[in-house]
Symmetry: C2
Subunit: 330 residues, 2 copies
């Protein structure tokens, strides 16, 4: 379900590195060449390119890309609306190893100017248990702290109560479902929602610890037994940020493609385009489930995602996004 396209015959990492080195050389940077190479390599191949580049030229290719795409990656954190940074940001995020990228995004999401409960929730709920753990390991390596340590330090109240266990979870991933538990927990959820006890520890326990298969069974029972999908019942106050996050958690755990299609739609429809969100979703999902996200986007918006992106972005940024979402593949 990835949208990234890999050429039938991939050059060796050394060949890719030589070409990239050329693309960086001289006065101008050859962005086309950079995109042509990096946007068409999978994460294992990009990892090899990064290692080979370091061996050959004793430079970190991420730093080279940062310099050449005229961005300051660290400065760009504070500059959500500088669209000139977007090409650099998407190329850099994409080139990073997925675990390292998640660690980077999570860390960014704990900082004051780029704080985002949404990004933290996405990482916690849409990665596999193994991938989430890899991100936690990468966080140690890069920031010398644990992700739960930083998140619990920087969040408070109900958001902390939700996000810390979400990010610390290591959910079971088998398909086994216990229907007795599903029924009793659907009732607990319904009861707590009726009482408007949305931050009740039982509700949080269920959402943060149960396997996705088990949750699915619970929520299906909820729907059948109480007549509404849970997210409808969680819409008491559509402006309440905590409730919005709860609904997003339910979506991310049960049908992430719907969640992401909606994030993309809001990002594109926004006055001025939310390139921050657009970049994040494309860079993190192109190798995972972007095909399904595209289908869902098309279904809900009666327009294909590539047309929507084309109409809203330009230049190298647009080229990179379209390459990653497999524009023109089929």
């Amino acid at each position: 379900m990835a949208t990234v396209t890999i050429p039938p015959s991939v050059p060796s990492p050394a060949e890719d590195c030589e070409l990239l080195r050329k693309a960086f050389a001289g006065w101008g940077t050859n962005e086309d060449l950079i995109i042509q190479i990096l946007a068409h390599r999978n994460s294992a191949q990009r990892k090899l390119i990064r290692q080979t580049y370091a061996d050959l030229f004793e430079e970190d290719i991420l730093k080279e890309l940062d310099k050449e795409l005229s961005n300051d990656f660290e400065v760009s954190l504070a500059c959500t609306f500088c669209t000139s940074y977007s090409t650099g940001r998407v190329v850099l995020l994409w080139t990073m190893d997925p675990a390292e990228r998640d660690a980077f995004l999570a860390n960014e999401a704990t900082k004051r100017l780029s704080a985002s409960n949404w990004v933290l929730m996405e990482i916690a709920c849409t990665r596999s248990s193994h991938d989430l753990f890899m991100a936690r390991q990468a966080y140690h390596a890069r920031y010398k702290r644990s992700v739960e340590e930083d998140v619990s330090y920087h969040t408070t109240g109900d958001f902390r109560k939700l996000l810390v266990p979400l990010l610390s979870s290591f959910r079971y991933e088998g398909e086994e479902v216990n229907m007795t538990v599903a029924k009793s927990e659907a009732k607990i959820l319904h009861e707590k929602i009726l009482e408007k006890a949305y931050n009740h520890e039982e509700l949080i326990r269920i959402l943060t610890t149960r396997s996705k298969a088990q949750l699915n069974a619970t929520l299906n029972y909820y729907n059948n037994e109480f007549g509404n999908v849970i997210n409808k019942d969680l819409k008491a106050d559509p402006k309440d940020e905590y409730l919005t996050l709860l609904r997003a958690i339910v979506k991310c755990l049960t049908c992430p493609e719907k969640y992401y299609a909606k994030v993309l739609r809001s990002a594109i429809n926004k006055l001025g385009t939310d390139e921050w969100a657009l970049t994040r979703v494309v860079a993190t999902r192109a190798e995972v489930d972007m095909q399904r996200i595209k289908e869902e986007f098309h279904r809900r918006n009666s327009a294909p995602l590539d047309i929507a992106i084309s109409g809203d972005t330009s230049g190298d940024y647009k080229k990179m996004l379209l390459a990653l979402i497999g524009h023109g593949n089929n």
Copy 2:
């Protein structure tokens, strides 16, 4: 700092398996031979023995041991005081892979008849971050659920608030310390303790997420600045179980050998001996830090651990324990 002794020349796993098979054969079981082999192999060697045994005889050696040592491992769960089960239990626990053993102990600790917040806390606080994660993986494999899922389901109130994040943590293990954080968090801890807000989320956050090095700096500052070690201040009501657990957490995170020496002392001094605790500590620490636990035990009790164990246990159970704690080594 392990106390297990491995012979200078170790037989091949196949040779060990053949001997073990003989020990199981016929009318009586040769417990001496079983102890002589298994108590003198490290975890990697025991793992190989288990694999080889399965390959050679198509049997799980754990089941064979269980049968031969005339115990029913599963039944023995409900039978804390049946000392006849003790030999079987210590041999079985020891033979298990450490991660699998922790998963088993954690699961047992969530069950009604063998529930124990202490065992859960020990596993969460005295294992390395990597080993704790391996135990969580082993829990998935064995129980088809996650450990945090079961623990949060089976605990309530303040104990749940503490145990779930403790078991879900993946603490950073580097030596880096932030002194500004140490000072400010020592103040938070002191403030919350003064207010008797022992279950305050900030206090729990600090204890459950900070690295051991960072916590050590915080607690040293606490001691210097406020005149008492934190555990003295956490002794407001010595009979309060939650406070007792908090003190044990502090001990396990900062000086586990003191914690374990005390558990052993209580287990041995108890009328009838708490073989459950004695077995657990010996089986889980013999390959880790039993040497330091022995030193600490000797220092605090003016008697060596092996003499204390010898005076309090008998038969094969005693032989196995003494072998594991390296009796007669030095």
